[in-house]
């Protein structure tokens, strides 16, 4: 009776609410489009298929790492070791090509295996020893990078030792879409779908959203977080393989400094840094946005010196925008509440 009528607004709200939620991804996508359009205005070649291909290729690695990072961040953790893992896996794969002449496909397997192993270490220390993941993965960043250096030791992997079929993945296209992009998109869709439609996936959000409640709901927190780290590591390892395929060469410098770029992309992508919300699609779009920005700056013939500053400013803007959305959302939700309670 009274309650019914009084409650209607809250139902009405929800449609607007879900709009807001979608707005995150949509907003970023729009931003990308806007940048492309604006850039194309003063350089009409920026929208060429070739140029678009380049944008996709350029973003794909960070996007891939962003997928794993999202899984971790959603659980209120963070993985700073992805850059180092990428570098290590890239070199080891190359080294195996050079000396063991392993088949091209196994390169990917190796990469994923290496990454997963490191991820397992991260996950173990974080969950079983209950050490803040930021510290764990920061330490692993140093350790893995050092290990990489010891192994590389001034050597390089040169293009001629890498199977053509392997490097093909780095540049071949299907209907104009780079393989690299396809692989990443597949991963994004797969993980995104899993995180949305399987219980384990939803558990990740629950854990990040309210750990204590998650425990009460009987969610296996340790196992889930561990898995998240393993996946993040595995994807970083796969990233190493793709890095090698893309650049056809690698020394010890592969992936240096990626970690912060990845976190930045993820945050720009609308993933809450303290967990509970955000999607891998958003993260991937975030990566695309950052890469589009830096390419747009070159393409707009803006002095290279301005690149970083503008990227930084846009990054802050993106974070602020996302916050603004959340705040408005919460406001609406709050005001929708209570209505039914005047009986």
């Amino acid at each position: 009776m009274t309650t019914q009528t009084a409650r209607r607004p809250s139902g009405l709200m929800s449609s607007r609410v879900s709009d807001f939620l979608r707005a995150r991804e949509v907003g970023i996508a729009l931003l990308v489009v806007v940048i492309v359009v604006v850039t194309t205005v003063n350089n009409h070649h920026f929208a060429d298929s070739a140029s678009i291909q380049q944008m996709l290729t350029g973003a794909s690695l960070i996007a891939l790492l962003g997928v794993g990072e999202t899984m971790v961040i959603v659980t209120r953790n963070v993985d700073l070791s992805v850059g180092s893992v990428l570098g290590l896996s890239a070199y080891i794969i190359g080294d195996l090509f050079k000396h063991q002449h392993i088949p091209a496909w196994s390169g990917f397997v190796v990469g994923i295996a290496i990454g997963a192993a490191v991820g397992a270490v991260n996950g173990f220390i974080t969950t079983v020893l209950r050490v803040p993941s930021l510290v764990v993965t920061l330490a692993m960043l140093y350790i893995i990078r050092g290990l990489d250096g010891v192994i590389v030791n001034g050597k390089t992997i040169d293009p001629d030792v890498i199977p053509a079929s392997f490097t093909a993945v780095g540049y071949k296209t299907v209907f104009g879409v780079p393989w690299l992009a396809i692989i990443v998109v597949v991963v994004v869709i797969a993980v995104g779908y899993a995180m949305r439609t399987f219980r384990a996936g939803r558990d990740l959000y629950a854990i990040g959203s309210n750990p204590d409640a998650a425990a009460l709901a009987g969610i296996p927190i340790e196992r889930r977080v561990f898995t998240a780290f393993v996946v993040s590591g595995a994807l970083a390892g796969l990233g190493g393989a793709l890095f090698l395929a893309l650049h056809a060469q690698v020394d010890n410098s592969g992936g240096i400094g990626y970690e912060l770029t990845v976190v930045a992309a993820v945050v720009v992508g609308g993933v809450a840094i303290f967990g509970g919300s955000g999607t891998v699609v958003g993260a991937a779009l975030g990566a695309l946005l950052l890469n589009t920005i830096s390419q747009a700056l070159v393409a707009s013939k803006i002095s290279a010196f301005w690149n970083q500053a503008i990227a930084g400013a846009l990054l802050l803007a993106a974070i602020g925008f996302d916050r603004w959305l959340t705040v408005r959302l919460t406001k609406r939700l709050r005001s929708s509440e209570g209505a039914h309670r005047d009986v």
């Binding site: 558990d203 629950a206 959203s209 309210n210 409640a213 009987g218 039914h340």
Partner: protein, 512 residues
């Protein structure tokens, strides 16, 4: 044996579905539960009553598999079980509504209800449509209309409680335990809940529910179990006991001792609140607190009392209205200024707001007086310890050493530390929110005695309490707040359960 007797008296034929015997549980210093015993039969509604801190929630959490009992035995359907965790309890057919809502702000209402066991279609894919349908179904049973897709973020306390209830119902468990489910609900919602309980019982489920509202106990339960100081006192068919019996067994002494009250002559106004409003939380609140009187803010949980207190103290900004302390208007949103003017606020949640749990007792007591305790900008450790040394005995604090972290103290003693922290500032006005929430019965009387002493010495006290006995026992005047609006301003003489309940719920209390 009284328990067994009562049990046999009630439903001799059936086998009990759940039996807890002589469960014990202690948290560090606090013996939360010394002898928790309860027997539930299929198809019965069983009330569990006891003062704050009696150990009800602890007992519940043992049934929930959250706490493992230090001693005692749990039988479900006649078989002894040891619950490895909340999940295990659920699988054993026990579903719980916790006293504090445990929601995931970022997840949809529907998902909050089904997290971890969402309905799945082929390939273990979550069937969202089905999940929504089920959610709507449950809400329909509860007669409420809440959008299943809306995130839990920003749900009101009451709505949160409703989601919790829906969650518990969704298990179709054969034992349903509800820890103060009605605390945040209005009469109508309470009625609906009772109807649902009735149907569940009809289906042969046992319902255990905790409430501080005794009329509810009589309205809908067949048997009642009473606890005091962590011990089982008795179980009896509701027909065989009266409210007075229950209260006597709950409190273990007569109420006067629990609510000491010296008659004082109120002095002049200390706090004047003038048309205070806070967008969307409360509207146009005006009242005065004079020195030497206790004014109580009564109302349902979620009514906005704490918000009023927070706005007065300056934790939240007010959108309009004035706050005057001893005639001086206070700046908006500046607790520091309020403190300087002689105001103190003992917040409702000591674990989060009242105390820095990992700091020592002395440091917590000093936290609000640091400036006074330091010379040349340096904290004088000696004076800091001296301060604690003077207040600990005055509040009859039980502790190891003053350096111990307050997290090692019992709830009641924690509350005393918070009191000490603020009394150390010798405030003109003490705002105290839920002074005895989660405090065991002995301490509770002490706290009341302390309050009484303070007003006797001419302090002005604004007390927020969800417990009518406390309000009735301690207050000189009672202000009732409902939905953020002031609905009654009663003198000690006018105030009684009915009037207050009516003002608080807006429905005649026969309904509740």
């Amino acid at each position: 044996m009284a328990g067994d007797g009562g049990a046999r008296g009630a439903l001799p034929t059936e086998e009990p579905v759940l039996v807890l015997e002589h469960a014990q549980k202690s948290f560090g210093a606090v013996q939360a539960l010394e002898d928790g015993s309860i027997t539930l039969y299929p198809g019965e509604a069983h009330a569990l009553v006891g003062e704050n801190g009696a150990g009800k929630s602890t007992l519940v959490k043992i049934l929930a598999g959250v706490h493992r009992p230090d001693a005692g035995r749990l039988l479900i359907n006649g078989a002894a079980v040891s619950l490895a965790g909340p999940a295990a309890a659920r699988d054993a057919g026990v579903s719980i509504i916790y006293q504090e809502p445990t929601l995931f702000p970022d997840l949809s209402v529907a998902e909050n209800i089904f997290i971890g066991r969402q309905p799945t279609g082929p390939g273990h894919r979550i069937d969202r449509a089905e999940m929504r349908r089920l959610t709507r179904e449950i809400f329909a049973r509860l007669g409420v209309e809440l959008d299943p897709n809306r995130p839990a973020r920003g749900l009101s306390v009451a709505d949160q409680q409703i989601v919790e209830i829906a969650k518990a119902l969704s298990f179709n468990a054969n034992v349903l335990v509800m820890d103060e489910p009605t605390a945040a609900l209005t009469g109508v919602e309470v009625e609906r809940l009772f109807t649902v309980m009735a149907t569940l019982r009809g289906q042969g489920a046992a319902v255990l529910f905790i409430s501080h509202r005794l009329e509810e106990v009589f309205a809908c339960s067949q048997r009642v179990t009473i606890m005091r100081d962590g011990r089982f006192i008795l179980t009896a068919p509701i027909a065989e006991v009266t409210i007075d019996d229950i209260i006597r067994s709950m409190v273990g002494r007569d109420l006067d001792a629990l609510f000491p009250k010296t008659e004082t002559q109120p002095g002049d106004a200390v706090l004047e609140v003038d048309h205070l409003s806070s967008q969307g939380v409360f509207e146009d609140i005006s009242f005065t607190v004079r020195s030497g009187e206790i004014v109580a803010l009564a109302g349902l949980v979620g009514a906005g009392r704490s918000e009023v207190a927070r706005a007065v103290f300056g934790i939240d900004r007010r959108t309009s209205g004035k706050v005057l302390l001893a005639g001086e208007e206070l700046p908006n949103g500046q607790p520091g200024a309020a403190m300087a003017a002689g105001m103190a606020l003992v917040p409702e949640d000591r674990r989060q707001q009242g105390l820095v749990m990992d700091m020592g007792i002395d440091q917590n007591i000093a936290l609000a007086s640091l400036r006074r305790l330091s010379s040349f900008g340096l904290i004088r450790r000696s004076s800091e310890r001296a301060l604690a040394k003077t207040w600990a005995p005055r509040l009859q604090l039980k502790f190891g050493t003053l350096r111990n972290a307050v997290s090692t103290l019992s709830g009641g003693n924690q509350q005393k530390v918070v009191l000490g922290k603020w009394l150390a500032r010798e405030p003109r006005l003490l705002i105290i929110d839920e002074p005895t929430r989660g405090i065991d019965v002995g301490t509770k009387a002490e706290v009341h005695r302390i309050l009484d002493g303070l007003v006797a010495d001419g302090m002005a006290v604004l007390m927020i309490s969800s417990e009518l006995p406390e309000v009735l026992g301690m207050a000189d005047r009672v202000l009732v707040i409902r939905e953020g609006r002031m609905t009654a301003d009663l003198t000690r003489a006018e105030a009684d359960e009915q009037t207050i309940m009516r003002a608080a719920t807006g429905v005649s209390s026969e309904a509740a």
